[in-house]
Symmetry: C2
Subunit: 383 residues, 2 copies
Amino acid sequence: MNPESLAWNERLVGLPGGAARLDTPALVLDLDAFEHNLAAMAATARAQRVKLRPHAKTHKSVTVARRQLEAGEVVGFCCAKLGEAEALARGGLDHLLLTSPVFGESKLPRLLALHVRLADLAVVVDDPQQVEALAQAFAAAGRRLRVLVDVDVGSHRFGAPSVADALALARRIAAEPALELAGIQGYAGSIQHIADYAERAAAAGPVAAQLAEIRDALRAEGLRCPIVTGAGTGSHEIDARGGVFTDLQVGSYAFMDVEYLDCVLAADGSPRFRPALEVRTRVLSRRHAGFVTTDAGTKCFATDGPLPRVVGGAPAGSTYRMAGDQFGRLILPEGTEGPPLGAIVRCLVPHCDPTVNLWDHLVCVRGDTVEAIWPIEGRGAVA
Amino acid sequence: MNPESLAWNERLVGLPGGAARLDTPALVLDLDAFEHNLAAMAATARAQRVKLRPHAKTHKSVTVARRQLEAGEVVGFCCAKLGEAEALARGGLDHLLLTSPVFGESKLPRLLALHVRLADLAVVVDDPQQVEALAQAFAAAGRRLRVLVDVDVGSHRFGAPSVADALALARRIAAEPALELAGIQGYAGSIQHIADYAERAAAAGPVAAQLAEIRDALRAEGLRCPIVTGAGTGSHEIDARGGVFTDLQVGSYAFMDVEYLDCVLAADGSPRFRPALEVRTRVLSRRHAGFVTTDAGTKCFATDGPLPRVVGGAPAGSTYRMAGDQFGRLILPEGTEGPPLGAIVRCLVPHCDPTVNLWDHLVCVRGDTVEAIWPIEGRGAVA
């Protein structure tokens, strides 16, 4: 929490030129780019007659989720953790899918409380023990939970490891009166960031085929499989065209980041989405030739991906690296003069999901104006 | 924020065996180890007749700061950002030093408001422009601010780059009626993690000599230099013995982490501090031979340092790596059986400062009992 900094930035909302006066560092959302991204993803979904189930792990924000809903083609939201779903539910959102298993004594009462609150809540399982625990808890409460079978499509993190395992789990769910078999999930996280489109498409094909095989086998047994969910920003167009997925778990498209900017996301090679998310940082010290020290370090940027990309406020060719938890180093090209003390430097975020999770608010700008400040209600909701 | 998870864990406080029932993932502080660490650092300071100015960038917690104060030899606290200082001040703490420059239109009113609130607030500068801005703002407000000259002792991040520059800055401060020259700061961040004690001592010597030279030159000119502050957990014993520093800016010693556990911190080779900070995570999926998937990933562990170290709940020799933002992979030694679904795995944190900054609460345990839950008030206070 940074209430004094927030108060300063809130006073800038609506003032002409307010964006130049931000207290920094700040996580800034370019609303024009953000709205373009939501519209572009909705248009793809509409054209391909597939639905969207945006993943809240990217933004953890009620307002962002509402905007996604308004952009169209959205059937619900994905949440990685129960806490994320609770945050969205508190904000009035519904139709939530928990995309990883929920297990254990502390989770079941929370899951039940969330179920009571929502019209539509679904979870995934990958183990018979999870099915048993959910069935017992929901039967005891006199409620019925929608459950999907999670399928391991190559990430080896979660998921039934074989078609036979997936079918066995589905039968087990279907046999429980307190559970409703709602379909299957296969999230191929490991292929999303393959930079080359054709290579990514070649990797996505077998994933869809694996899910189609399971879906068809379930139907052949008379079991229902209304949902086949998965995909991500990387494979969204490929999977939309493939016709197997009923809905796409896209997340990063809304904000974009350095990781995804290096991937060709549309078959025609066009840049479908625009970078919308920046950290704005100011120059704090300039006592050396060749670089200046700024006010954003590893407490502002996730370090699991590439480095931030400098897109404004510095000579062309400047690069950025961390100088500890709270500071950065803007490295200047040979022979250039660094920005003055207090100047704003704009950096695209390296990997959006964990970067957003460092911040409590999104400062939303349109051009030079701060238009709004949105809370990130699910920040830190890792449990 | 994760209020439902917090509510569950709060209900466990004081219950026998409560630690085994924690909602996970959770950031857990072992109070026995923590108290040992505070006592050990205070004892070193007492023996060497040096004071401590613990750095709040590590813990960002009012309660941790209070415990440090109670442990003794503390003259104040360091804060990396204004927001951190504001968080400590709201919690009633005083004698705060801002260890990096404060500059710009949004910061000065906040600094003034904080100055009004505290008996003792000091800042550092490394540029005449900063001195001028502070002098103007404090003169206009009719207040007097204590200012230290920051000296670049090798990190090349902040600091006057030469002895002559440091002296010029000090003269400039001393000439401003609204400013009081309070001393000098030299933080040698780059030497703190040198694993070998003798090698670290060899690197620390010239740093102290550089600061002593500036201090002596200031005194020779009739300028005051009551404070010579710097050092860290890595060099604390070396710098305490050296006799140049008046106080040590130690931080990580309270919690420790994998990075510091690999450093010899005492001349006699003894492990002076005990690892006190863990992330406790549970097994969420076990559908593969050789590893299981847990519920803590890059949103729970900082990734700028080494990997988490597994210290409980898994076969000896197990290792941990990230499996995305929300999950981990516990890799099992050949031929061992993984822990069951829902079992707790205990991991020492890789780098404590940015890891703590991911969490809203410290769950404090003593043995099997949850003794308290402390808020991390300054989490995310990066501005």
